[in-house]
Symmetry: C2
Subunit: 382 residues, 2 copies
């Protein structure tokens, strides 16, 4: 069994999301947007697909993959990891993630099994939390503590058992007082039983992060993510060591795959770890879970956009640790469930108890709308 | 897809191995011996098999497995682990290992793939080291340092790139001087290029273990295993901290699955970790490998008898860490390759470069000799 090619296809879709100067998403006027798909072709009748990847990765990806057994994921992954040391062939973790997921998708399509069952299934459904977009200044959006409170109530009504606020990032934030006010408004609105989490501005000082943590402890928040620059690991050790109730969850954006998660755990830099499939794929994510399971440390999975198909498959195979699926990002003026027109069915349907039912379709479980993609192709497979 | 039953079958075979008072094996006059097989039946046309398990485990195994999806290995494994807290249903790690391996075998037979490819393949062959039986007082056996030297030469000639001595255990050992003399005799016989390792008497004092370590460093040995009681973790921290060249590899027999491996690594109790499939199966072994990979710690796989089919599949999927397959146990007066008459082909054929070629047959890759088993059944499936 051999890989014969790695290809990408680019298609367009109408988007109502825009990005601010830090890359955070907000509702925006409808406009054309593009989505890339990666395909790994083999000498079997079956291919592997992943939404994501890039045309620029193809020369390096082909050099590493073509001619190898598509089931030799560990061999391919180690080759791609080592290639990251080479200026010639360096692929980003995101691109490695797309390739690794396409290989897992292939294995599932070849065997007729979803990836969660290839890994060894644990659960068919996982509780979700509503994860808001970052704060904005859009009327009717997330422009005030009261707006967050109103939206949290709507999420609670929809069935979400938990909610995470992303508050105001640059250029609107940072604003510590306003972050705390939004958290307080949400707690007061939803009452004591809804789990609440916060992902604030990522560049607070130690002192600001501690002040924020104390306020969240008073408000009975469950965890906080990335209040400081994650490259200041010592700051996270300092903060984590002082908290009694609130969990610090991380790292999220720090480079270094599962290796960095190990360092954070060894240093006591967070109470719980964090991963998603864009950190170089399902293959290292499974190792991060093994690390956390062995040490009794929780790992909470980060929302990963088009990667959530992979995240959900991994969540289906995680015995411990890891409680929630992060659903979103959500916004009062934006229809999350209509945001992936290239799928026939959304990847994360949620019931009214707040559970996501994990796709049991082969591979990553995505139900690709080939008609939509054909009608909107900008650059065909190549 | 549902599990319909868990069964065992017992058959007899002619053995030329006996066990001493500590359970170590030595050549013995031919006699009847028994082997148990575990079978997990499903409502598919496919079953899963593992050599190992016990009739006594069946009530607890059935309570935990029957009715579940045979691909829900993580769910089943977590249930079995929790059941170990219950006096009613406690299964040994060995029995959980047999059940978990039978489930992996099922997944492989269902999909037509070897377990190493389900996990994500890394290599098709792995270097072996010759692992001797423990010392004895059998003329022509392993009854003197000179006997070890002679046998090591034979192993070198056979193609083994490395060799591990098991020296004299109770009641013949412990004998520190003689252990060192055997190691010296072997090094002098095979020359400087063969990798050498030692697994001595398991109950030396700290001071004896250090003296032994210093001697092994002089003899350019590669690693040593379990020179002291593995429950004295502080002794291993003490010993490991003083060595510069010799690796301490462990724990091997310590209870606690991958969780204990994590503790040893966190405490610096060994340079490299150790696992085999009888520590509750492939499922936790994969987590131990994730732990070690994340921390950059080597994991050397322990020989596991009938479990070696599982060990080899895992070795085929291990990118790092872990260098060798432990082949044996070997003895000058005993034909290792004829020791599994219940298989049509041995599980670990070795070429003359010392590589084991990992079976690419479905599941655990064993080629079961059903004629032999039928002709020698003592207790049929039930």
């Amino acid at each position: 069994m051999k890989i014969t090619d790695v290809q990408t296809l680019t298609f367009r879709y109408r988007s109502t999301l825009g990005r601010d100067e830090e890359g955070h998403t907000h509702p925006a006027p409808e406009h054309d947007a593009v989505q890339v798909m990666t395909r790994i072709t083999t000498d079997e009748e079956v291919d592997g697909y992943c939404f994501g990847g890039s045309e620029e990765m193809l020369p390096a990806a082909r050099a590493a993959l073509v001619g190898r057994d598509p089931l030799d994921r560990e061999q391919i992954w180690q080759r791609l990891r080592r290639d990251q040391r080479s200026h010639r062939a360096a692929l980003s973790d995101r691109n490695i993630g797309a390739l690794d997921m396409a290989l897992w998708d292939f294995a599932g399509r070849l065997t007729g099994l979803p990836v969660c069952k290839l890994l060894g299934g644990f659960r068919d459904k996982v509780p979700a939390y509503a994860s808001t977009m970052c704060g904005d200044d859009i009327p009717g959006g997330l422009d005030s503590p009261e707006a967050y409170a109103k939206f949290a109530l709507a999420c609670q009504k929809r069935g979400y058992p938990a909610l995470k606020l992303h508050t105001w990032m640059s250029p609107i934030g940072p604003n510590l007082r306003r972050d705390i006010a939004a958290c307080r408004a949400v707690r007061e609105a939803v009452g004591p039983d809804m789990r609440l989490m916060l992902d604030p501005h990522h560049d607070y000082t130690r002192e600001e992060a501690l002040e924020l943590s104390r306020a969240l402890e008073e408000l009975d928040f469950y965890w906080m993510e990335e209040p400081m620059n994650e490259h200041n690991v010592a700051s996270y050790v300092w903060l984590t060591g002082q908290l009694e109730k609130l969990m610090i969850v991380g790292p999220e954006t720090a480079e270094g795959k599962h290796y960095t998660r190990a360092e954070w755990i060894m240093r006591g830099a967070a109470h719980a770890s964090r991963y998603d499939v864009w950190h170089a794929g399902i293959t290292p994510m499974v190792k991060a879970i093994g690390l956390c399971d062995a040490l009794g440390v929780r790992l909470e999975v980060h929302a990963a956009g088009t990667g959530n198909a992979g995240n959900l498959q991994v969540l289906g195979a995680m015995g411990i640790p890891g409680e929630y699926y992060e659903r979103g990002l959500l916004h009062p003026l934006w229809d999350y469930e209509a945001s992936t027109p290239w799928l026939t069915e959304i990847i994360d349907p949620m019931d009214d108890q707040g559970y996501i039912h994990i796709s049991q379709k082969p591979g990553l479980g995505t139900d690709i709308n080939w008609d939509f993609i054909r009608d909107n192709t900008l650059k065909p497979w190549g």
